[in-house]
Structure formats: C-alpha cells, structure tokens
Amino acid sequence: MEENSVILVAELDDGHFALIKNSLQSTGIHNRIQRFTDGRQLLDLLFTKTKEPHQQNGQYLLLMDVRLPDVNGIEVLEKIKKQPQLKKIPVIMLTAADDSKTIERCHDLGCSMYIVKPDKNEGFTDAVRKIGLFLSVVEIPQVSTVV
C-alpha cells in the first residue's frame, strides 16, 4: 500500500472507529483515514456527489461494517461492485454480524474478506493490527473519478 492510498472506514460506533484508527496507526500506517458513519455519505463520496476534496485518481481501500444507518453495508458493497471503476476497490467487511446468510451474500457480491469483530477490545486491537500489517504488503488499485 502506497502512502497516498486512502483508507475509508465506514463505522457507526465511535469507540470502534477510534480503536480501528489507533490500531492501524500503531502498525506504522501513515495513510489518510477517512471515516463515514452511514452508507449514504460513503456512496456520495465515491460517486462524487459531494464537494469534499478528494483525489481525481485515487487509491482506496474500504473497511466497512454491515450495520450502517441509511444505506447498509451490503447495499453499499453491491453498488460499489456494480460500478466498473469502483469495483476494483478492495472491501473488507469488519462487523459483528456473524450469520451465514450475510457472510455468503457479501462473498457473492465480491467483498475481499469478511471478518467478524472480536468481542473483547484486546482481541479487536490485535485483529486490526494484523489487518494493518497485511495491508502494508498489499498493492491497491487506482480508481478514476466516476461522473
């Protein structure tokens, strides 16, 4: 993962987001981490329906919870994976949802990995650190802005 790749985190829970951010940064990741608290905000950014500044040709990786208000994680995943440019974005589902139907649906839609959040903070921190260390040795694709 290059330094200009942006890590998008779609997470409603403040505590979980803080833990994700701190754990990623503790592995030496200096990439920009941008948070979304609902699916609509995230889609607006990716489909450039927002005035917020972002790169024309960006490298993005998405960590996303299934349970999000407004538009949930499965719907966001479906929209991203149907769009020819955005479909390249690696999407890691990181969620408390642990039912086989949701898991199968996300894999069918094309999530890169599906990870259930550990119950205890210690385990959660450790899991996110391992995700971060793995991401540091992974290549991220370029996506161009969608009009």
């Binding site: 990995m113 599906y114 990870i115 259930v116 959040k117 391992k130 260390l133 040795v137 290549e139 694709p141």
Partner: protein
Amino acid sequence: MSEKAVILVAEDDAGHFELVRKNLWLSCTENEILHFKDGQQVLDFLFRTGDGEKRQQDQSYILLLDIRMPKVDGQEVLQRIKQDRQLRKIPVIMLTTTDQVSEIDRYYELGCSFYMVKPVNYHRFMRAVENLGAFLSLKGIRVSSINGSV
C-alpha cells in the same frame, strides 16, 4: 480462520511454495494446505475435472494464486473462478512477482481479493508472507462454503 477452510496454493516455484507453506503452517495451524503446480491442476480440483483430487462439497476455501504458471496462467484461473456462480465466493489472493500498475488494476477488476507482490529480497519476502499468515490466522475470518455441482 475459525472454520476449517482449506488453503489452496497455486505456485510453480518450489522454493516460493516452501516459504509460503512454512509460514502458513506456523500461523494457520488448523487449516489444511493443498499445493498445485500449475493452473490446470487447480482448475481440475475446483471444477472436479481430470483424475486428481477434487474439491469437497460444502467445504470452504481460500486460494493463493501465482500469475506466471505453466499450462493455464493465473489470469485465466481467476477469470474462470469469478465467472462461476459458486466458485466466485472463494477469496483469491494474487501472490506474484509482477508489480506493473496496469496488471494490479486488471486483477482487481477481474475480482481478486488482494494483490501481493513477492519482494525480490528474501527477508522482505519472508515478512510479507508472515504478515499474510498472521492475517489469515484471524479467528474472525469467515469464508462461505462452496456447494452445488459445476
């Protein structure tokens, strides 16, 4: 991985496979690891063709896939898997020496989960594979079982 997912490794370089196997064996102790020496072997296994071992019903898999392989290359293997309604659920991690941007984009477009470049430097290669092993060892990882006949 909490479920007993089988890790498939398609890699024609014996030395690279040994490094990967050793690391995964240490981190993913509960997962079976199967080795395929070319793309045709892994397709035969997944699509249940040929004379060799074939995939089991209702088993879950993760595939580590090299690009440059004899007979059938990694690109075709990935395409075949992602075009199949059942097999497409298998997470495929590319593990290759090619680091061209156009290649990276293409493989993500075809539906790989992640694209990893094998560093030429031995120690960096070891570290990359260690990080991969630690990631795959996460208890929270869930993979779908693959059923249906192809």
